[in-house]
C-alpha cells in the first residue's frame, strides 16, 4: 500500500498545536511511534501517520477534530487496533486519535441493567464488571481481552454467541459522539424505548470511525445464565453437519454456540496442538447452550440427537466445565494453528444464509484448489458466518495475486448465495473495492451523502468503508 498525502499537512506546527489541546505528554511524532501505529491486525497494509494523539476527555477530542477539519487533516480514531480490515491504517497520513486513555467504566447500573463507559474500556473488563453483578454483556468477539468497546461498536463486532444473543448493535442504547464538524452530540440513552429523532446510535454501529468519534457509550446488559453446557459431534461430510444445524434450529432450539471446523482446520489443529481430534472426519461441530439447568439438558440431548440422526459420530457432551473448555479449545486453536503453517495468515469473514453454508464451504474448497492455496474454513454455523483463512509464504512468487484472485472469487460466491462480503470484521480499507458489488450504485451514493452530512470536510477516517 502506498501512502498518499495531501502536501504539507503535517508541518512542524501540528505537534505543537495538538500538544496545546491534549498536553505535550499525549502527542507523539517520533519516527518510532509513528512506525508502531502504521498497522493494525490486518496483514499486508501499513502506512505511517504524521502524529498520534491521546485525548483524555471529550472536550479534547472535539478540539482535535475542529483543528483537523479546519486544516483538512485526516483523523483516524483507534481503539486497540485489533480490527481485521485495515480500518485504522492511516493510508492518507494525518492524525491517529487513540482513545486508550479514555478507559473508565463510568457506571454500572444494575437496576436498569445498563453500563455507561468511556470508549477505551476493554470489552472483557466490561464483561467482568457485569458478571460481578450477576449480569452479562453478551457480545464476545474473539479479541475481547484486547478490543475496546468503541472499537466493537464502530465495527459492530459479533462473536460466538451471535445466533442467540445477537451482535454489538443489539446492545448499544446510546452514545456521545463528536462528528466531523467538531460538534458533540448525544443520541439515545438508558431507555429501552426512545423514538425521538432518527436512530443515529444504530447508524454509528459499524461506521468504522467515518461518521464520528464515539466518546461515551451506554450499553444494555442481560441477566447472566445460570448454567452452560457444551458438546461436539464429527461428520464425514460438512453437508451432514449443515443438515444437523438446520434440524436443530427447526426443532426450536436456539443454541448459544454452534461452531464448525472443516477438514483442513481439523487436520491443522491436530497436527499442531495434538488435542486428540479425529482427523478422519470431514467436519467438527461444537454445540452449546446456556440457561436454566433443566432447559439446557433438554436442548443438549436434542442437539446431540439431531447430530446423530444426520450421520454424526463421536457425539459427546462435556460432563464438567473443564471438559467443556477442552472441547472449545479446538475452536480456539484454529487460527493460531493455521498461522503456524506459513508466515502470512489472511482471515476473511464472508457469510451466507445458514442453509447455504455447506455449499459455500464446497465453493471455497474448489477455489482454493484452483489457485493452489491452503484455505481452512471455520466459523459460526448457526449464523452462516464463515472464516475462510488462507496461509501462505509471501516470499513465494506471485502468491499474493493468487490470494487476491481467490478471495475476489470467494466474495463473489458469497454474494451469489445471498450472503455478504463481511459478516463481522468490516470493510475498512481492505475490502473497500468489493463493497460496491454488494451494495450497488444508489446505495453507495446515499452512503456518500450521509458521510458528507456527518463529516463535511471529509477528515474522519477518509478512504475507508464507503468514503
Amino acid at each position: 500500500m502506498t501512502t498518499q498525502r495531501p502536501a504539507g499537512l503535517a508541518g512542524a506546527g501540528l505537534a505543537g498545536e495538538l500538544a496545546e489541546i491534549v498536553g505535550g505528554d499525549h502527542v507523539r511524532t517520533d519516527a518510532g511511534a509513528l512506525e508502531t501505529f502504521a498497522r493494525d491486525a490486518t496483514p499486508l497494509h501499513r502506512a505511517t501517520p504524521d502524529a498520534i494523539c491521546f485525548p483524555g476527555e471529550t472536550r479534547e477530542v472535539a478540539a482535535v477534530i475542529e483543528l483537523a477539519a479546519e486544516r483538512g487533516i485526516p483523523v483516524v480514531p483507534r481503539g486497540s487496533g485489533t480490527n481485521l480490515c485495515a480500518a485504522t491504517v492511516p493510508h492518507r497520513g494525518g492524525i491517529v486519535l487513540s482513545l486508550t486513555r479514555m478507559n473508565r467504566l463510568l457506571e454500572l447500573d444494575a437496576a436498569n441493567m445498563v453500563a455507561v463507559c468511556q470508549p477505551g474500556v476493554i470489552t472483557a473488563r466490561l464483561g467482568e464488571a457485569a458478571a460481578e453483578r450477576g449480569l452479562l454483556y453478551p457480545p464476545d468477539p474473539g479479541s475481547r481481552a484486547t478490543s475496546t468497546i468503541a472499537g466493537n461498536v464502530a465495527t459492530c463486532a459479533g462473536g460466538l454467541r451471535g445466533l442467540k444473543y445477537g451482535v454489538t448493535r443489539d446492545y448499544v442504547l446510546g452514545c456521545e459522539v463528536v462528528i466531523g464538524t467538531g460538534e458533540t452530540l448525544r443520541c439515545g440513552g438508558k431507555l429501552v424505548k426512545d423514538v425521538a429523532g432518527l436512530d443515529l446510535t444504530r447508524l454509528l454501529c459499524g461506521s468504522e470511525g467515518t461518521l464520528g468519534v464515539i466518546t461515551e457509550l451506554t450499553v444494555r446488559l442481560v441477566p447472566a445464565a445460570a448454567a452452560n453446557a457444551t458438546g461436539v459431534a464429527y461428520f464425514s461430510d460438512l453437508a451432514d453437519a449443515g443438515r444437523a444445524v438446520s434440524q436443530i434450529l427447526a426443532a426450536g432450539v436456539l443454541p448459544v454456540t454452534l461452531e464448525f471446523l472443516d477438514h483442513t482446520c481439523l487436520e491443522t489443529v491436530e497436527e499442531f496442538a495434538g488435542i486428540g481430534l479425529r482427523t478422519d472426519a470431514g467436519a467438527l461441530l461444537i454445540f452449546g447452550q446456556d440457561g436454566a439447568a433443566e432447559a439446557i439438558a433438554g436442548d443438549m440431548s436434542a442437539m446431540a440427537e439431531a447430530c446423530a440422526q444426520n450421520n454424526g459420530f463421536g457425539v459427546e457432551i462435556a460432563d464438567s466445565d473443564a471438559d467443556a473448555q477442552e472441547l472449545l479449545e479446538a475452536r480456539r486453536a484454529v487460527l493460531p494453528s493455521l498461522s503456524r503453517r506459513a508466515p502470512l495468515t489472511i482471515l476473511e469473514d464472508a457469510s451466507v444464509p445458514r442453509a447455504r453454508l455447506a455449499e459455500m464451504v464446497q465453493r471455497i474448497d474448489a477455489i482454493a484448489a484452483e489457485h493452489d492455496l491452503l484455505i481452512g474454513t471455520f466459523g459460526h454455523a448457526g449464523d452462516g458466518n464463515l472464516h475462510p483463512t488462507c496461509v501462505v509464504d509471501p516470499a513465494q512468487d506471485g502468491v499474493l495475486q493468487r490470494v487476491e484472485q481467490a478471495f475476489a472469487q470467494i466474495f463473489a460466491a458469497a454474494l451469489e448465495l445471498g450472503g455478504t462480503i463481511s459478516g463481522e470484521h468490516g470493510i475498512g480499507l481492505a475490502k473497500r473495492d468489493h463493497l460496491r458489488s454488494q451494495l450497488g450504485d444508489a446505495h453507495m451514493r446515499l452512503l456518500t451523502r450521509l458521510k458528507a452530512a456527518f463529516d463535511p470536510a471529509d477528515i474522519l477516517n477518509p478512504g475507508k468503508l464507503a468514503s
Binding site: R28, T36, S98
Partner: protein, 393 residues
C-alpha cells in the same frame, strides 16, 4: 541487504499483529501507547531489521529498555511468538558495550568469571559442598551473596542434592542485557560444571538455562519438590528426615548453631527478635509473587502455589502473575518505572493482609523486601525455600 540479520527470521515472522498480548503487558498498562506494547515493540524490531529506523533511533533505545523483559506477552500469544529471545537479540544490537550504564557494566563484569562469582559468595554461608545422587544445586551469583540461606535451605529440602562450589553465573544477566553470546557461553559452562539436572532456586536462571541447555536439564525448586513428591507438608515428616530437635530450633526462630540446618531469620532479612509462626498455632496467610520467566517461559506456576497451600493459607494476590518491577537489572536501570510497578503491587499486598509474600526468584525477593520495608509494612517477603524449610517442619 548485505547486513547480517539482527533477528532470527522465523521468530520475527511469527507475529500476526493480532494484539492479544496488549492486555498482558505491564508497560502498555502504564502508558496505553502501542509503542510500549509487545506488538508495538515487535513492529519496532521489524522497522530496525528492515532499515526503516536507524539503529540509533531514540524510540528504539527507549523501548528496548522500557520493556521489563517479563515475557507476560508469551503465554497469551496465539501464534506462539517467542518474545524473550527476540528481546535478547534486540538488546544485543541495541546496547553496545560502551553505551551501557556503569552500574550495569559492573554487574556484568562481576559475574563474567567463575572466580568472581565465587568471591561474591565469601564468606560462604550458602549451601556447603556435598555429594548426593543429584540434582545439582545451583548456588546463583547474586543470590549467594544476598540470600545465602536460600541455597542452604534448598539443600535441606532436597536431601539428595549435590553441591559443588566450583560454579559460576548462568549468564541470564548477560543475555538479557545485550551480551547474548556471552550469556549462552556462561550457561554452557555452568552446564558442564553441573553435568546433570540443575536444581535452582531462581526462576530467571531456570528459564535461561532451559533455553540454552534444554528444558530437561533444569528444575526450579518448587517444580522439583512437587515432581519428586518430597515436599514439606504441614505437620508431616520432615522432608530431609533430620532429627526433630533441629526442627524445633528452627521453628522457634533461634539460629541453629551449625547454620546448616536452621533458618536464621537474621540472615534472611527478618528482625532477630521475630519468631516464625508455628503451623500448629496459626496458619499464616501467604501470598506469592510469580517469577515472570519461570511462569511465562518454563510454565511453572501451579507448583509454588501447591507447596505454599500445604503449609499455610494460600492467598492469590490479584496480580501475582504480573511483574513486580525487579525484572533483572530493571530496578537498577529504570528505578522510577520499577517503583511505579512495584507500588501497585504493594497496595495489593497491603489490601490482602498477608503475613508473607513468597518469591521464587532472588530479584523479586530483593524488590519486594525493599518495597515492604520502605512502607514499614508488617508483611514480610521471603523465599519459598525459607517458608517451606521453616513451616514445613
Amino acid at each position: 541487504m548485505s547486513e547480517p540479520p539482527i533477528f532470527t527470521e522465523e521468530l520475527l515472522d511469527r507475529c500476526i499483529s493480532c494484539g492479544f498480548c496488549l492486555s498482558a503487558c505491564p508497560t502498555y498498562a502504564l502508558t496505553g501507547e502501542e509503542v510500549s506494547s509487545p506488538r508495538g515493540r515487535i513492529n519496532l524490531m521489524r522497522a530496525l531489521e528492515e532499515g526503516r529506523l536507524p539503529a540509533d533511533d531514540p524510540t528504539l533505545a527507549e523501548e528496548s529498555s522500557f520493556c521489563l523483559g517479563c515475557r507476560a506477552c508469551e503465554p497469551v500469544c496465539p501464534a506462539g511468538v517467542q518474545y524473550g529471545p527476540l528481546l535478547e537479540e534486540w538488546r544485543a544490537r541495541q546496547w553496545p558495550p560502551r553505551t551501557r550504564p556503569l552500574r550495569l557494566r559492573g554487574l556484568l563484569w562481576a559475574t563474567n568469571r567463575r572466580w568472581r562469582v565465587r568471591a561474591l559468595g565469601l564468606p560462604r554461608r550458602h549451601a556447603r559442598r556435598r555429594r548426593g545422587p543429584g540434582p545439582w544445586l545451583m548456588l546463583g551469583c547474586f543470590e549467594r551473596a544476598l540470600f545465602p540461606a536460600v541455597s542452604r535451605l534448598a539443600a535441606r529440602l532436597v536431601p539428595g542434592a549435590r553441591v559443588v562450589a566450583r560454579q559460576g553465573c548462568c549468564g541470564a544477566l548477560h543475555a538479557h542485557n545485550g551480551e547474548l553470546a556471552r550469556g549462552h557461553e556462561l550457561a554452557r559452562e555452568l552446564g558442564e560444571a553441573l553435568p546433570g539436572v540443575i536444581l535452582t532456586t531462581s526462576g530467571g536462571c531456570a528459564a535461561h538455562l532451559a533455553a540454552v541447555l534444554g528444558r530437561d536439564r533444569v528444575r526450579e525448586l518448587s517444580e522439583w519438590l512437587v515432581e519428586s513428591g518430597a515436599a514439606a507438608s504441614s505437620g508431616g515428616a520432615r522432608p530431609d528426615g533430620a532429627a526433630a530437635s533441629t526442627g524445633a530450633a528452627a521453628s522457634t526462630g533461634a539460629a541453629a548453631s551449625t547454620g546448616e540446618t536452621g533458618a536464621r531469620p537474621s540472615e534472611t532479612g527478618a528482625r532477630p527478635s521475630e519468631t516464625w509462626p508455628r503451623p500448629s498455632e496459626t496458619r499464616p496467610r501467604v501470598g506469592l509473587q510469580d517469577s515472570c520467566h519461570l511462569r511465562n517461559a518454563n510454565g511453572v506456576w501451579r507448583e509454588p502455589r501447591e507447596l505454599i497451600g500445604r503449609v499455610a493459607e494460600y492467598v492469590e494476590l490479584p496480580s501475582a502473575s504480573r511483574c513486580c518491577g525487579a525484572a533483572g537489572t530493571y530496578a537498577l536501570l529504570r528505578p522510577r518505572d520499577s517503583r511505579v510497578i512495584l507500588d501497585a503491587k504493594l497496595d495489593e499486598i497491603a489490601a490482602a493482609e498477608v503475613d508473607y509474600v513468597v518469591a521464587v526468584n532472588p530479584g523479586c525477593l530483593r524488590q519486594l523486601r525493599q518495597g515492604l520495608r520502605r512502607r514499614g509494612s508488617a508483611t514480610r517477603a521471603i523465599h519459598l525455600a525459607e517458608l517451606l524449610a521453616t513451616l514445613g517442619d
